[in-house]
Subunit: 611 residues, 2 copies
Amino acid sequence: MPVDASLLPNLRNIAARLRIESIRATTAAGSGHPTTCQSAADLMAALFFAEMRFDPAHPQHPLADRLVMSKGHAAPLLYAMWAEAGYIPRERLTDLRLLTSDLEGHPTPRLPFVDVATGSLGQGLAAGVGTALNARRIGSDYRTYVLMGDGENAEGSVWEAASAAHLFALDALCAIVDVNALGQSRATELEHDMDTYKARWQAFGWHAIVIDGHDMAQIVAAFAEARATKGRPTVILARTLKGKGVSFTEGKPNWHGKALKPEEADRAYAELEAQMQPETAALPPIPAPPAAPAAAAPGQMPAPDYRIGDQVATREAYGTGIAKLAGVDPRVVALDADVKNSTFSERFEAAHPDRFYQFFIAEQVMIGAAMGLAARGAVPFPSTFAAFLTRAADFVRMAAISGVNIKLAGSHAGVSIGEDGPSQMALEDFAMTAAQPNFTVLYPSDAVATERLVAEMATTPGPAYMRTSRPKTPVIYPNTEQFPIGGLKVLRQSEADCATVIGAGVTLFEALKAHEALAKEGIHIRVIDLYSIQPIDAASLIAAGRDTGRLITVEDHYRTGGIGDAVARAVAPAGLTVTRLAIPEIPRSGKPDELIDTYGISARAIIGAVR
Amino acid sequence: MPVDASLLPNLRNIAARLRIESIRATTAAGSGHPTTCQSAADLMAALFFAEMRFDPAHPQHPLADRLVMSKGHAAPLLYAMWAEAGYIPRERLTDLRLLTSDLEGHPTPRLPFVDVATGSLGQGLAAGVGTALNARRIGSDYRTYVLMGDGENAEGSVWEAASAAHLFALDALCAIVDVNALGQSRATELEHDMDTYKARWQAFGWHAIVIDGHDMAQIVAAFAEARATKGRPTVILARTLKGKGVSFTEGKPNWHGKALKPEEADRAYAELEAQMQPETAALPPIPAPPAAPAAAAPGQMPAPDYRIGDQVATREAYGTGIAKLAGVDPRVVALDADVKNSTFSERFEAAHPDRFYQFFIAEQVMIGAAMGLAARGAVPFPSTFAAFLTRAADFVRMAAISGVNIKLAGSHAGVSIGEDGPSQMALEDFAMTAAQPNFTVLYPSDAVATERLVAEMATTPGPAYMRTSRPKTPVIYPNTEQFPIGGLKVLRQSEADCATVIGAGVTLFEALKAHEALAKEGIHIRVIDLYSIQPIDAASLIAAGRDTGRLITVEDHYRTGGIGDAVARAVAPAGLTVTRLAIPEIPRSGKPDELIDTYGISARAIIGAVR
């Protein structure tokens, strides 16, 4: 399948043009990374124009091979490739980095040929694991290629992804490491020590091929070997030179992240044009992917089936919910990090083992793979303890930038988990997720709400997070109740209400207890279940504040970035303020009820705040 | 140096007692992880009572060998070891997990023998890299041991730490992997595939020894071999059985995280006591570390040396500041992730190369090693782009739980970085750090404030974060100005002020521009530099709000978890609300000034909000 040797000059000429365009665009922008484009240009010329199967007019074709540019600072190279393929008008390449252009400094999915945003190094391979798993999900033989820098091999997330790709035997995944030996501030740790790179990748179960990344024949042969390798993924470790092709940048330090000055660029163009070779035949056209079958429309998830008063932890209802959802929506997949028996995602595995992916204790690749799956049409539900989602905070950040359709769930939130202690208690999960302006953030209090919100998450585009709780809580809603995203529920109200208490999860039940105790004394409070923290129902909160005079939030979360701050932001325009009950300090191990009381979020604390 | 073979029965008997106490404590607590203690008991008996040098009466001895219990769920084993050594009264072990006890579900530094909190798997080895680097810093030959689970080898952070330990040739570091083959929810990925474990660790440059983790002679010999290995770290890969020593738990699934019932525990004690062997001689006492020299008192950092109006980026002043600080305080060290030329930590490296640690692009181990260094008396300043600190968010969380004295700095925050685009813009760094209730969070606006706050960070105990900016900003403070933590500066005020604008970093200068423009129209605003976001000067903010009637915050951060929320929390008790200008959506690439204006945090936006 490799191209005929007579066509190698064509590929070399493409590489020279890619270098020229990378320099031209960054020089026009006055910033950017031309030299990292230069090192990878030969690899990418061969990949795009003699290996990959895709439709240049339709980058999102469901069965097209994927390319993840993990070394996102080589964005100008990626843009030049799509210009060479005809998708981007060549004259637009110099709009690089303008506010008016989608050709951003690092690639984002504003561009249809970008599956996930890159630019935070070490994330692309995890996304590639996801796009490769998606091929298996839809029964396609499309392949995934990930171009990585050498420096990013220092990121642990790369080795999580490497391990997962081996585990899943992803032979449709091919990583290409551009070993140009120069990092941002100095030489890389391993420089051109190709033997150590090879030993590491092999130890993680990959077929590893070391090549000269500027020898077009070796490159073409390596891609063919990768394609022929079955049962495991392949990494092409390419020895390259940063700044390749231009005498004064090739292999030279201190060129990282610097655009060439116009006069330097002119010298570079002359050198690169002089490298052009005669072509004896035309390259064959890029092979087209097969026609994609029409996607089946998802069905309606069955209604919840609980009785008022049943004691059911929301984490358990979550597991039930995602399993039911997957029964009516083939796009839904679940991902675990060896806590399926705590998050109850084991119910999904039992019902749909072919769509359940076990990543073991590796949260970064779990989220990264979910991003890749989501980018290719799956609706992934990755879940773990909410505390350990922080391990993947940078992936959460990039998922937001990517706008991908991932549905995170975190269990065991807050001090209400009890004896395991602070390392297992998520108390900053809302701060992490709600900080991202396009994240939907949900916090159901009972099993009915949980199942309904699982369905809402799946049908609401974009990234979302659901927090679930460890303790069992009573079912308080009828099975017919609906929970639109952006809403809330007023559970107790009277005309005599002197305050509104806003809780969710375990604290909602403390608020209900406080309501009952105070009512006996003739003190009436309104109680709100704030199941949707972002978006938030500002109008209802303001109305409650005006009606009752006072707003009190109570949450099993630290003071910053949670329910209190969200409500305060919502009601501030009406001149209303909020009294916040939240976890004020690093908590200890203890029994859940003791902790809830000790840290001031119990019914007793609410009663105190009302008085 | 290994103990005489005649003493192996003593060690076996200690191991049996450690198993008994681990079961007894977890059964008393009614929860916890006895079986993971059982698998590691032989390893820990040998390590603590025939290998390590420490003072059981003085766990924090500066020259004592360190043990990091990375598999923190084996906390009862650790507590039993310290009871066996005489530090904890044996009868206190059954206080495990009580709110009234420091014997928490997972170890925290509330206990003097715990350097860093563990329980989030995959972090301990990074901390061990830090304690081992600290030995080198103080010229000690103390050794560091890290007990890891096998499941946590899936965490990428382990491979970051493995790579760093090799890079620094830390032969005083010894990792022990308890390969018991059972994870939480199922068998581990690699089960007892010792060859693959060995290949991975060797590929990362470690000396790897595979042993039977229940064969006391092999264990003792492996520790001796580790001690004799020079120039690289050693890993002991110990094949073990979860639940070892008790017939109905040994090697059995479904015992993870379950305490034995009292009747089961009684059967276990009987089985373990039956394994006790006759002892023919007494173990030698635990060797004492050498006397520690008195620490030199740090000196006073020289005053800043700028002129009003100088254009200096705060990131640059940060680099200057930490280099100056290190000149007067030998405890100060700096850590980088290959961005020293952007954060300006290269100035520290130039002045103090022996205290500068280059981790390449591996933020988790950079922060984790800083935690280990801080736990042993260093004052570490790890820095990178603020966006990439999110990569280590779980380490930040555990640093807060640990209360360690780390001083994070993040540069290139906000849309003001410009063309590189959203992947490089930290817009949630305050949400991440200020969520932790014991974090100090600082945001200097000029070079003088930056240097002063570097010094304040070093003298204020506990974890801290400083945000620095990419663009140059004018020096506005005299070199004599002081910046106490928890303070703010009122830069413009008059009796006619109709609003207070609160900014920091790049937005402070937008507020000053707005002040000037409005003043020309006879509209007067107060301008506050909120350089200390946590703790925050609530009294001054409330006073300003009352004086001027309106509070307007403006920040180069998303709406959640930043300056607006912090000010709103501070002034809410006085019934005051805040108008917030912040980045409302995922931003794009563009020129800094364009972005500041497009996303509504420019002088123009402030003027609009005031009107």
